[in-house]
């Protein structure tokens, strides 16, 4: 039966070739949209890894300019004490610019046993950071005062970096780095620092020493839930009084998270709207063409009915024709789509592509099935006598 269908289709190869190209391009569009959706959804399902409610970012550019390490330490110590003395402040932590949900990224690479590991997020933070953001410790401990005198530089890494460095083995106490050794004292859970729809990536946390506090321009403040705008104004005044030369800005982590999520979703939404209408276009077009073709083939259908074919077998034939056509386009489409994981074009995990390919194949089949179903039904309703009489 398939052989017969092929002959029928071959006879109209020009028209069918056009249809196939159209299905092929639709497949690629659907594949693109689904790849991004699958990727975002996969990221979204993972836990965010930190507690962002009631945390504010205080940004103070241009802090004091001095190279004297003692006076820097004294200054920040005083600042910390003043801010912590405010009633609604629970915890305060100095950090490098790459605070959660900021657009700032600091990345570094490391050579370990001859292997280069790149794109590691680099955080300079103090002893309060983990407690303030409530990041879960998987093993070991967070930094404390004793780390200031450690002989080998102590670091805390996240789960993703642990896997990259040591496989699934426990990492605490182990050292890594060919040029400069670092000793892992703790491993924390992954945190999605750029919002819900992004990956956590690899991360290493370094305890900030007194010397580099002068270059820091941000601190995180955890406040009590009843901290309101009046208190925020007071905090603002306090900070700008202590830091005379600084420009101060306060932001809320909840707002930043919303902003970063919107930044991720916006291109996705625009793409989906455009792709959605393209697909409606294609669906209408396919439907129209199939319907028209069936009307043209009334003679053939009438003849089949006259010699005993049932209505359902006639409509089956037409639907099968459409599905075979789409199978050809899908094969070509999948051939192009698998190049993405094979050549590792966008640095996404292969599973995302595979999932997206499977979903796109189902989507195209479904689309073609829906478009072919009604014309097929119409064909089944053809009366042989009427059809043959017309000819």
């Amino acid at each position: 039966m398939f052989r017969h269908l092929f002959i029928l289709m071959w006879n109209k190869k020009k028209q069918n070739f056009l249809l196939m190209t159209e299905m092929f391009v639709s497949f690629l569009v659907v594949f693109a949209v689904l790849t991004i959706s699958v990727y975002y959804y996969g990221n979204y399902r993972k836990p965010i890894g930190l507690d962002y409610e009631n945390v504010w970012i205080v940004d103070y550019s241009n802090p004091l300019r001095t190279d004297n390490k003692d006076s820097i330490w004294l200054f920040y110590d005083a600042l910390q004490k003043t801010v912590k003395a405010l009633p609604q402040v629970r915890e305060i932590s100095f950090t490098s610019n790459n605070v959660p949900f900021s657009s700032s990224t600091i990345m570094n690479g490391v050579n370990n046993r001859g292997k280069n590991i790149s794109s590691i997020n680099w955080y300079n933070i103090d002893d309060n950071y983990q407690n303030l953001l409530n990041i879960k410790l998987l093993e070991g401990r967070w930094f404390n005062k004793q780390d200031a005198v450690a002989r080998v530089k102590p670091v805390v890494i996240n789960a993703t970096l642990r896997e990259e460095l040591f496989g699934n083995q426990p990492a605490v106490g182990k050292q890594y780095g060919d040029d400069k050794q670092s000793r892992v004292i703790g491993v924390v859970q992954d945190t999605k620092m750029k919002g819900d729809y992004t990956i956590a990536g690899k991360a290493v946390y370094n305890r900030v020493d007194t010397g580099s506090l002068g270059g820091m321009q941000k601190m995180l403040v955890r406040v009590t839930p009843d901290a309101d705008i009046t208190f925020e104004g007071r905090l603002y005044k306090t900070v700008s009084t202590v830091m005379k030369t600084a420009n101060v800005e306060i932001q809320h982590l909840t707002d930043r998270r919303k902003y970063m999520n919107n930044m991720s979703l916006m291109p996705m939404i625009i793409l989906s709207i455009v792709a959605g209408f393209l697909i409606i276009n294609v669906a209408l077009g396919l439907f129209g063409v199939l319907w028209y073709n069936i009307n043209k083939r009334r003679g053939e259908i009438g003849l089949r009915r006259a010699v005993g074919a049932t209505g359902s077998s006639v409509s089956m034939q037409l639907v099968a024709e459409a599905l075979i056509l789409s199978t050809f386009s899908i094969i070509v489409g999948v051939f192009f789509a698998v190049q993405f994981p094979l050549l590792n074009v966008f640095d996404l995990p292969a599973g995302v592509y595979v999932m997206a390919i499977v979903l796109s194949v189902l989507f195209i089949y479904l689309l073609v099935l829906i478009c072919a179903f009604y014309p097929g039904r119409q064909a089944a309703a053809v009366y042989p006598a009427v059809a043959l009489h017309e000819d």
Partner: protein
Amino acid sequence: MLVNYFKIAIAVLKRRKFFTFISIFVISFTITILMVLAAFVDKVVSENYPDRNRSRLLYITTFEESGPGSMNSGALSFYYLERYVKSLKRPAKIFISSRHENTNTYVNNKKITVSYKYTDATYWEVLDHDFVEGKPFTAQQLANGERVAVISEDLKKEYFGNMPSVVGQYIEADDVRYRVSGVIRTVPSTNYLFSGDLFLPYTLSKIDLRSNKDYRGNFMGVLEAASSADVPAMKAEYEQMAARLPMSNKMYTNIYTHADNYLNAYLRTGNEKKSGMQIAFMTISIFVLLIMLLPAMNLVNINVTRIMERSSEIGVRKAFGASSKVLAGQFIIENLILTLLSGVISIVLSLIALQVINNAPLLNNLHLSLNFNVLLVTLLACLVFGLLSGVYPAWRMSRMHVVDALKAS
């Protein structure tokens, strides 16, 4: 003859309403997307408030030093602009301003995020701001370090509410009280080089601007030529000056800094190897191609199908001596009529779409509108689309044999 084609086209459109609907829907939606895109690009490229005299301006926004394995790029330092750029002979006027940064102010139990910018007095001479009230600060006020500020209309509304006049009032930001000297119509955020809410004399900066002796800092400079004919010479003078600069560090071998025209400055990425112009051009072309490809193919499919319907007409015309060329031409013109008709519908659709986008809280002060340029792009898109989807079916049709065509009916 064209009138005849038009009549035939309308008659054909009326014949199978469903197909006509599909065609018009496909075309008008595609053109709507293109129109919205064109409106956005047009807004970015030709929004010339406050730099209305763009043809006479050159913008200096980035300074990049690079060497093997290292690269450092950013905005310029005040020191660099004052020492090297201000010493140029060609420019009639030069102004220096900082990039905008954010701070907060708290008023009436409300938090306002203020984006502020330090400028000099020439800023107000070169740029043509619309003052709602008051006037800019003067060079004298700048030199005296008076605490005066020019604010945007948006900030006025947020901070003072519905007060009719605020000149002479005090506004507190970043823990300092400034006297308002003028209010300007808000610069849209798409013009990011000049947008801001609070404009302060640079002498009020909390740190000593001249203490940073690096090339890079937080400032930009704009050169104004006496006439647009003078611009190339001004550009050349800047490049010559930049070529003579010593490297700030031994690890660098090249300095890249340019006095750009507006579009180049707007799209400069800060990395000499990545041309923003190229990236923008590539992105837009690929997007447009993708947007047009699928609907065009769809339309080709529908058109090819519809030709069969008209085989009797083609057969008769051919039998009476019409050449293939004439028939193909007729079909292409019919297709163009259809696309132009859809183009008119898409104008209505895009007016609705733009209304939705303008009211959505995407970007502050973003008001997209249709103008002559956008309509021109639309017309062009209609023509391209009409040809793209009409040529192949027309060719197929014109090759039909008379006998086949007549027999088919």
